[in-house]
């Protein structure tokens, strides 16, 4: 084992199976043949490096990074947390890319046909980088729920999409952060694609210490990526 790997396997208890009939689009899009094992080489133990230099001054603040003629509408939020590996080791200088719907539950994406208003002052995408302790923080507007065609009267719970690389290309993770107490969670096949006991790891916690007085409600969301390979007890 070196400082750079190999990495522990993807935990297929946490991660959803490729085909999950509750989420209909997986039926034709999820690979069905067994994955082929691959002993990690330098190609797997390396990955794109994007640090602080890849983030602009307003990238971490979705309440400001797309203003045209005023402030975006909705409930201001602060999302803060740490990026860790499975051993609890903080992962510094790690890029997080985030995107979400606006307060009305509408995405700025051209293909979103949901009949809810766009906000001229909100795009809903940004990024930030973890500090030396693995901490990150960004500002946004609480995203609204929105309907989707997966099943009758289906609604996605409020969520923010997250994309991270971590220390190598194979530690890559794309996930969604949810909000505590959302009644739509138990009805959502995407959230429920990860089993009970693990799916809760995607639900942020309301945190008064992160909440900024007179300004924005705070949520804490820690993200855990793959660690180094399990080491023998003697080490």
């Amino acid at each position: 084992m070196t400082a750079h790997g190999p990495f522990s396997p993807r935990d297929w208890v946490s991660h959803p199976a490729y085909v999950d009939p509750g989420y209909k689009s997986t039926v034709l899009r999820g690979p069905t043949k067994p994955l082929i094992p691959l002993k990690q080489t330098l190609s797997e133990m390396t990955g794109p490096v994007y640090g602080q230099e890849s983030v602009g001054p307003l990238d971490h603040d979705m309440t400001k990074n797309a203003r045209i003629n005023g402030e975006p509408l909705g409930e201001r939020i602060v999302v803060a947390g740490r990026v860790l590996d499975e051993d609890g080791k903080p992962l510094p200088n790690t890029l997080l890319e985030v995107w979400q719907a606006n307060a009305a539950g509408r995405y700025i994406h051209r293909n979103d046909q949901h009949d809810a208003p766009l906000d001229p002052n909100f795009r809903g995408s940004g990024r930030c980088v973890t500090d030396s302790q693995g901490r990150y923080k960004f500002y946004s507007i609480k995203p609204g729920a929105y309907p989707w065609g997966n099943h009758p009267n289906g609604w996605r719970p409020n969520h923010i999409h997250f994309s991270l690389f971590g220390p190598s290309f194979i530690t890559r993770l794309v996930t969604q952060m949810y909000f505590p107490g959302d009644p739509l969670l138990d009805l959502d096949p995407i959230y429920k694609s990860s089993p009970e006991g693990r799916r809760e790891l995607m639900v942020s916690k309301f945190d008064l210490d992160v909440t900024e007085p007179e300004f924005a409600l705070g949520y804490t969301f820690d993200i855990v990526l793959r660690g180094r390979n399990a080491t023998p007890m003697t080490e």
Binding site: P9, R10, V13, S14, H15, A17, Y18, Y23, S25, T26, V27, L28, R29, G30, P31, L35, I36, P37, Q40, T41, S43, E44, T46, G47, P48, S54, G56, N65, A66, L84, E86, D87, E97, W99, Y107, I108, N111, D112, R123, G124, S125, G126, R127, H161, S163, S168, F169, I170, R172, L173, T175, I190, S193, S194, R198, R199, M202, I223, V224, R226
Partner: protein, 193 residues
């Protein structure tokens, strides 16, 4: 290990204004796109072009493809590379299938050199709406000595050609065709990474 991995979720249909904003014409800069090269990049210029096909053979129009590769000398721009990182070639590309009329992904890059006794290859990450977890595969090149490659050797012989991009010489340059079959008889080999 004390903590559990945060579960993966689908990238969904609306990633473009966050992850591939420049390519799709949204007002936000992108960390990476389909062109991995600049005028100074050393190596054989190639284009990698393909589609992502679902279980009925239809092209997926909301997939995002990422590639990670070594430079022409087989070095990675990463501190783990013992030969020292080549900072002039980042080696990362990202492209969504929603802008081309045929829903192709397209990368302008250079052919990587061999890495640690393996045949030249590129690591690819596939994600789309309808994939709850991403999938990793590799692109090999039809004109290289792939017979000696230790990873290909572990792949059942009748599935190896799903990993080999076909070289075509065109007026626009050297094109490697590489389609990703998510399912079906020709399902692409995905690795347990």
């Amino acid at each position: 290990m004390s903590l559990k991995q945060t579960p993966s979720q689908t990238v969904g249909p609306y990633f473009a204004y966050g992850l591939t904003a420049e390519q799709y014409g949204y007002n936000f800069n992108s960390i990476a796109g389909g062109n991995l090269t600049d005028d100074e990049t050393e190596g054989e210029r190639i284009h990698i072009v393909g589609r992502v096909l679902d279980g009925e053979g239809n092209a997926v129009d909301d997939a995002m493809i990422e590639i990670w590769q070594a430079d022409a000398q087989g070095r990675y721009a990463h501190p783990a590379d013992p030969r020292g990182s080549n900072l002039a070639f980042k080696g990362f590309g990202r492209f969504g299938t929603g802008t081309d009329p045929e829903n192709r992904f397209m990368f302008d890059t250079i052919k990587p050199g061999p890495v640690e006794g393996q045949a030249p290859h590129i690591t690819m990450c596939v994600m789309c709406r309808g994939m709850l977890s991403h999938a990793f595969t590799r692109i090999y090149f039809s004109d290289e000595a792939n017979g000696e490659d230790p990873v290909l050797a572990t792949v059942p012989a009748d599935r190896r050609d799903t990993l080999i991009a076909k070289r075509v010489e065109t007026a626009a340059g050297i094109v490697y065709r590489f389609d990703v079959h998510l399912q079906g008889e020709r399902e692409t080999v995905f690795f347990d990474l």
